[in-house]
Structures are given as C-alpha cells and as structure tokens.
Symmetry: C2
Subunit: 408 residues, 2 copies
C-alpha cells in the first residue's frame, strides 16, 4: 500500500465529464489499496474569466483581492471532484489551501510555501477517505488568502507529497511523459522512462513546458519522486523524474529543448569599463524584462560588444530602453533580431564526456546552420540560430546523438 | 460618526457596473465620516450556475461539498467590490465568512451563527478601511465551510451589526421600503417610514418577501435597528424596522400581506380521536412539505373535518399522501383546491383594538367575497379566499383601513 499524491491540471478538469473521469481514475487507485491525495487546478478558462472580471474594474487590481478572487476557481473544482467521488461510492473530502493549511509568505500572486500542517489530511486518509486539495493557493500567517502564481498547482502537489512523505507525486498533463525533444518537430522523438531532476530543470526552463520549474526544484529539495503522466491515456507509465543519477539511462544527452520565443539585442562599441554590464542590464531589469542568455565578447580596442536575449514579446520595450542606455553610454549602435530561436542539448552525462560541444557545432555546421550565440552550463549547451533552422537543427542533433527510437 | 452595516443582494451586485455603483454609494457614506461594513451576496445567477454544475454530477450532492462550492459565489463579489472601492480611492479589505470569522454550527446548507469574532474587522475600521464581508457563509468549529441557507446574507448583515454594535443595519433591495401592501395590486399603497419587528415578521412570512425572516428575528433578538432601502434609488430613506413600539404610527393596521402561492386540502369525516391531527400531519411533515394554516372544526357526531394549506407547488404530493392517510384512518373523503389565496391584516395596534376582525369580514362580505378559512394571531388576521378575489379583497381592505396615501 502506497501513499500517492496526484495532480490534475485545468484541462483535465475542464468539464463536468472530465471531472467524472478523474474521479474514476482516482477510485481505481484507491480500490487498488493506495491512499490518494488529489490536487486540482481551476477548470480551464475559469481563472481567465475571473481575471477578466477584475480587469473590467481596474487595470491594476489590488493583489490581495486578486488572490481572494482567483482562488474561487480551484475551490469550485475540489467541491465538484469530491461530489463526483461520492457519486461513485468513494468517500472523499475537499480542502482549500487555507483549510489544509498551506502556510505561505504574504507575497500575493507569487507566494512561497513555508509550511504545511497535514494533520487533518492524515486523519482523513486514515479514515479511508480520498483527500481533494485546491492547488495554487495557501494562506499567510494573518489568515489572508495567497496564491503561488499561475501553474502553482504542481508546486502544491509536490509540497503535499513532501509534507506527507508520499511514495510518489504524479503530475497528470496532456502529454504522456518527457520526450527527448518535441515530437511535433522530430517525429522520432522518444519518451524517456526516467530523467534526473537537474535535466528536468534545464528542459523545463528551456521551453519543454511539461512542469512548472518551481515544482521540480521543490521535488528535488525534498527528494519527492515525481512522475509525469497523461490524463487521457490510462495505460501509460509516464516519465519518472528522479534524484538518483544511478539507474538513469547511460546516454550522455537526455534531450533537446528549444525555445521559439526569443529575441536578441546587441549594443556595439560600448566603452569597456567596469560596471558596464550593470549599466546596460539594470534598466532592463527595472522594467521587469527577464533576460535569458548574456554574451559579452572580449574588448576590441577600448570598446566591447554586448548581446543578450529576451522574450520575443518584450523585444520592442527592451529595444527602446537599450537605445536610451546606448545614448547615455556613448555606444556606437544598437542592433537586434527577433527572428531567432534557442536550441539546447541537455544531459547529466555531459559532465564527464568531452567533445559533446564540438560534435554539436559540427552537426550544425554540416547542415549550414550559422551559430549566432553560445552559452553553456554544467549539463547543457545552448545555441542561438536563425528561426528558420529550428526544425532542421533539432532533427540533425536528435540524429547525431542517437536519441531516436531504436529501429527494429 | 456612525457605524453602519450595509447589505447588497445579488441583483445589486449582478454586473461589474452595478458593483461599481455599490462602491460609489459606499464611498459616499464613508466620505460623510461613517464607518462602513458591507455584506454582499453572490452576483445574481452565479449561485444557480454553481448548483447546476453540482446537479450535473449528482442528484443529491454531499452537503459539505455543496457549501464549499456555492460559497465561491460571494467570495468573487467581495474581491470585485474591494477592487472597485480601491479604484475610486477608498481603502477596503475583503473577508470570507471563515476569515471574519463567523462561527456557525455544522448544519451544512442551513447553519446557524453561534458567534462572530469581529476583532479583525474592528482593526480595519479603525485603520480607516471599508470592510467587505461575504454574506451567507461561515465556518464551523472544525474549520469546515458552512452556509446559512439561501438568502442568508441578510442574516450575516444583521449578525455583523449585532457583533459590532452598529448604529444601523441597512438592507438594500430592489424595493424602496416596506409598503402597506403590494403596489402592483393596490397602486395607492403607501411606503411605511417605520414598522415594528413583530409586524415585519408577519409581513415577511405572509409573502411580502422584502427580508429574510431569520434576519428579522435576529435583529429583534439583538435590538439591531434595521432599515430597508432601494439599491437603485439614491435619495430614499426606506423603512426603519424598529423594536420600539413608541413612535410607530398609531394606526391599528400597518399593512396587508397576501400569498398567491397557497393550496388547501381537506380530509372529511375523520374519526374524532386524540392524536388524529398528528396522524394526518405527521406523514406530510416527513415528506418535507411545509404546512401553513391549519383549521379543525368541532366534531360532528363522531367525526371531524380537518383542513390545512400548503405551498401550491406541493399540492399534488400532499394530496397523494393525504389520500393514503385517509384510507388508513377510514376517513370519508379528501378534497382540495389549489386556486386559493391568503390575505392577512397585520398590525400591533390590533392587540388593543377590538372590532378589527369584524370590520375585515364585513368589508369582504360587502364585496361578495366568500371566506373559506380564518386564522388569527395576536397581530394578524388571515383569511383564505378564492384566488380570483385577491386584488378586489386587498384593495377593499386597504381602503377600509385607511392605509392609502393621504389625498391632497
């Protein structure tokens, strides 16, 4: 008998019928003798509907009240799922984040979990009940309702699993696991049975948006075995995300992530002085624009070139700020390109294997793909290329590193 | 400077625009120097939408989960109203029933308030904030979400006013006060400036559905001055419902209530034995059918006739049960009529003035209206007549007791 925490997202509970499907699935697990805690999101579309109401009233609604508003979304789902469980003869009880109680700090809209008091949950499990918990929400020390930020239901599930010392935390999504790369780009992409937390972190942040990053960090921190499964495919085993490197496939590379959503900006001929990086990126950060890759070439005479990438949607805003900065710094010019993509190789095997980078560059070169930027970390290598090469680059790398399905 | 509790129902907060209107109205009061606590219902239609979702899942949804579900309705309203107040520069903070905290018993769907801990509310008022409280909901000792039953937002408002020792509890509705009778039936109906709690209780239970009965009882118990006002008419003073008889208009009769929604059933030739009333009404009560008027005539030989009225919607169900009972008791026959109405005179003045009943019967008789049943209490006299006489009867009585507007 195991203790399993399952998390179902907004699409999986998007209609009454789907909620009833989730109930059946939970009951199967319960009937098999396991204790089950279910974490659910708001029905798909509901959170946006609520945010829409708020924006009819105010462009910048009060964050405390925003949390009071949007948390009603999951509260509706927990009630309906509990009813659906009762309807098929499975005893269940729902809890809001405040009821559980999931204690967070007071950062409305992006709170972090400090503690979970799972006493009532344990009592219910002991009494044979399924426990249904509202994802994404908590309560601060003063009893104010908080949210963990959008998509935070994954974090709730992992945190519940950690607090209950669950045997596994299962995240149900619309994909059946983590793939070596996006199957829509490379049809030979293969589902991984296992992946390490570190690799998953790199895959997630690089655009394989299977899981919320924070939930993966959380799972790693508390050693919670995490499994990604499909809500719609009942037989699948999904992908287990593990904190043990042993047992992970021996491959040097686990997968290829990519991000279509990038734009790059370059400021050229900046006087090469200490603090110049801060002077350039400070105003960008103040405007709440997130910077992804940063590359600074060595100085040429007394000036240097400085390039960074941002989310494509913030390209115009960043360009305007950078032009002002260039004027202040007396830089030669500002250029940019919002037709670029980032492709990344990810794998813990990379650590101990030389030559991965050179094989990557060789592969791209053979296909005539020009590399515009390079950035590396211990377990990944990222390159920026023209967006027209995305599919070609991903497929060539997938092939070069033998990531595809074994031919039979 | 006064402390005012205002309650706005579902129609008054039915759209974003209406919520913004309520915010403006609250701010006016606040700007005048008063402390304001606002109790709100769910946006009109929302509670029914949620109940509809539940019924898609189960015919008899679990009551605990039903409360978790429907309380999201008011939670949405408190957040939006607080945002609307912020948007016009009025500091405000929202509270769910659990947050306030409104402590109730555990009778889900029809809980009663045991206690209110208004500590946080007082602190907010002191800090110059408007406090926005979700009506209709509370929390039991174990932290489970409860509801006071539909329409219970009035009760929340009165209970908050009692707990805070507020100077007045103002209930905003779609009428501008309590009238001597329904103006749609008698255009000369006059708005009352004041009415006593007892009269209001009789008016409410008799079909003048301005306020929820329980909230009026509550107000009486805790001596909370209650005022009914229109949400849409800004100038009006409404009707003050008071617990002092002095100052109330000296009229013997305050108003005429009526109920179109009645049906009567008669069981004839029942053996006149002790316990026969219980044998007849027991099965009706067990079927959750509410009985209104009950009349038993004195026995004729060894048998008696027994008549009672029920809500018209439950006539068929009651008839079926009564026919079974009649067979068991060996009664002669069962007859019924679902085309009847009840008309009632209400007034505390009735206590000290003889002749009210006889003038009522005389008035109806002059109009050729046959009285089918009569029932009296200390401050009301009710008669049942054929439904076709409703308007004629109400107008004739309104005139006979000088309730209309003074002619100028």
């Amino acid at each position: 008998m195991a203790l399993i925490v399952q998390k179902y997202g907004g699409t999986s509970v998007g209609t009454v019928e789907r909620i009833q499907n989730v109930a059946r699935r939970v009951k199967l697990r319960r009937d098999a003798g396991d204790d089950v805690v279910v974490v659910v999101s708001a029905m798909s579309g509901e959170t946006n509907r609520l945010i829409g109401l708020a924006h009819e009233i105010s462009e910048h609604p009060d964050l405390r009240e925003m949390d009071v508003l949007v948390t009603t979304g999951e509260q509706v789902t927990i009630a309906l799922l509990s009813m659906a469980l009762h309807a098929i003869g499975c005893d269940a009880r729902s809890y809001t984040g405040a009821q559980v109680r999931i204690l967070t700090d007071s950062a409305h809209g992006k709170a972090r979990i400090n503690d979970i008091d799972a006493l009532r949950v344990r009592a219910d499990l002991k009494a044979g009940r399924v426990v249904v918990v509202a994802g994404f929400q908590g309560v601060d020390e003063d009893g104010n309702i908080t949210t963990l930020g959008r998509g935070g239901s994954d974090t709730t599930a992992v945190a519940m699993a950690a607090a209950l010392k669950a045997d596994e935390c299962q995240i149900f999504t619309d994909v059946d696991g983590v793939y070596t790369t996006d199957p829509r780009v490379e049809p030979r992409a293969r589902k991984l049975d296992r992946i390490t937390f570190e690799e998953m972190l790199e895959m997630a942040s690089l655009g394989s948006k299977v899981l919320q990053i924070r939930s993966v960090e959380f799972a790693g921190k508390y050693n919670v075995p995490l499994r990604v499964l499909s809500s719609f495919d009942e037989g699948g085993e999904g992908t287990l995300i593990t904190f043990e490197e042993e047992g992970v496939e021996a491959a040097k590379i686990s997968g290829i992530a990519f991000n279509r959503d990038e734009a790059k900006l370059t400021i050229r001929g900046v006087p090469d002085q200490p603090g110049v990086a801060y002077k350039i990126l400070g105003p960008i950060g103040e405007a709440n624009i997130e910077v992804d890759m940063i590359v600074q070439n060595i100085a040429n005479d007394d000036t240097t070139d400085f390039t960074f990438t941002v989310n494509r949607g913030e390209y115009d805003k960043a360009m305007k700020i950078l032009q002002e900065t260039a004027e202040e710094l007396g830089a030669r010019e500002v250029i940019g390109d919002d037709k670029i993509v980032k492709i990344s190789l990810v794998g813990v095997g990379m650590r101990s294997h030389a030559g991965i980078a050179s094989r990557m560059f060789e592969t791209l070169s053979k296909e005539g793909i020009n590399i515009q930027m390079i950035s590396t970390s211990e377990i990944k290598i990222s390159v920026v290329v023209d967006e027209k090469y995305l599919e070609l680059g991903v497929r060539a790398l997938h092939d070069a590193f033998d990531l595809g399905e074994a031919e039979e």
